[in-house]
Symmetry: C2
Subunit: 236 residues, 2 copies
């Protein structure tokens, strides 16, 4: 058999389990809370600006999101938001953290079947503690040879993961919903990437998919992943 | 030469760089801010209780500390704390995150010298993003063969690290300031541990050191570590 894929790396949030929807729902409830002071549009814009500004201090994840919601509320209300409302924001964030993990359709069949053929690695970013807890609750933890919860998914991160897995780039594929985090830095290294779009993308994750690229595929559902990977053994 | 130590694992916060002091300073300023409502003692007690309660949602690190400060302020003032004061709490936390990394005395000599003889691993907990940034700013990153930023330092975590490093427990030593996190779970696995007390310990990290144990040492300063490790090559 020609050398095919050996290591399949999978993203967590919005690839294996739903995530961005919880952020969007929470932000909608947050907008209702602040409705006396500002329009939903103005709140969303201020929140995005605040998250962008805080990214280099807080990184990704729910705790930073909670802190940015509080900061934005104070800003937008010129300090008039009450402690009771800030308490409500804290509660919104805690509910997100405690939320049960909901696997994306197909994951419970496809991932165990991939694990029979390939070495699986989870590569996800966000709060370390929260991601570990989601993985534990997903029921998928045992299927992964390695779990990499990382601060940023850039070229250096993937380079380190390839080295740690002892795999050649051409035998490594990353599968995820973010072009910016799961596709572009992986292709740069000469590895392969499969984009599985999710119906929601956080604005700070947005990037254009690559045009033509022979190590890149876009699929609608994880259901077709095993077939696609199987075909990669033989070139062309 | 008899089989000695092969892998030296080092804790980060309060072992390589100062940390708890920043938390204590911040909490003192927080107490001043809330002085109109409660005594320092009452604030410290409420804060500890809040952190304990939130630990299973937030894990360790500055972002959880910030959220607990906000929650405690709302509680203790029965919702009367103003948005301006909450903004000040956010600023206190952001200052902590932006704080320059201050190495503990001796680290800049001892750690490079250890790296000449042993494989070094950093094992630290807290916010992933913040810890990575501290490590980068410490100037020590290149000396470590592996960096493990973990959600909890328990037996299972150390078992995973030993396996990933491919080292026998008797040739692995963990060095750190926390008996609870750096010593007890390591000894349980049959590996060795060196306790280097720091002058401050967070109450939720407190544990009694082991009585007699032949794989355990307490030292006053990292300066004596190279000698101690060198002597471990020959039993007795």
């Amino acid at each position: 058999m020609a050398a095919g894929i050996e290591v399949v790396a999978l993203d967590g949030d919005d690839t294996l389990w739903h995530n961005e929807g919880f952020f969007a729902d929470t932000q909608a409830r947050y907008c209702e809370l602040l409705a006396p002071w500002a329009s939903g549009e103005a709140i969303d814009a201020a929140m995005l600006e605040c998250e962008r500004r805080n990214l280099e201090l807080f990184g990704y994840g729910v705790k930073g999101f909670m802190l940015s919601m509080i900061e934005t509320a104070i800003e937008l209300t010129a300090g008039k938001v009450s402690a009771v409302e800030i308490q409500a924001i804290l509660e919104l964030g805690k509910e997100m953290i405690a939320q049960p993990v909901e696997l994306i359709e197909g994951v419970d069949e496809v991932v165990p079947s991939l694990a029979e053929t390939y070495r699986l690695v989870l590569v996800t970013k966000g709060d370390l503690f929260h991601q570990e807890s989601k993985l534990a609750r997903s029921g998928l933890a045992e299927l992964f040879e390695r779990v990499e919860i990382v601060a940023e998914k850039d070229r250096a991160t993937y380079q380190r993961i390839l080295a740690a897995s002892g795999v050649e780039p051409e035998r490594f594929v990353m599968v995820g919903n973010s072009v910016r985090s799961d596709v572009l830095p992986v292709l740069e290294l000469g590895a392969k990437a499969v984009h599985v779009p999710y119906h929601l993308t956080w604005e700070l994750e947005h990037a254009e998919p690559p045009a033509e690229h022979d190590g890149y595929w876009e699929i609608d559902s994880l259901h077709v992943l095993p077939d696609l990977l199987g075909r990669l053994a033989t070139p062309g």
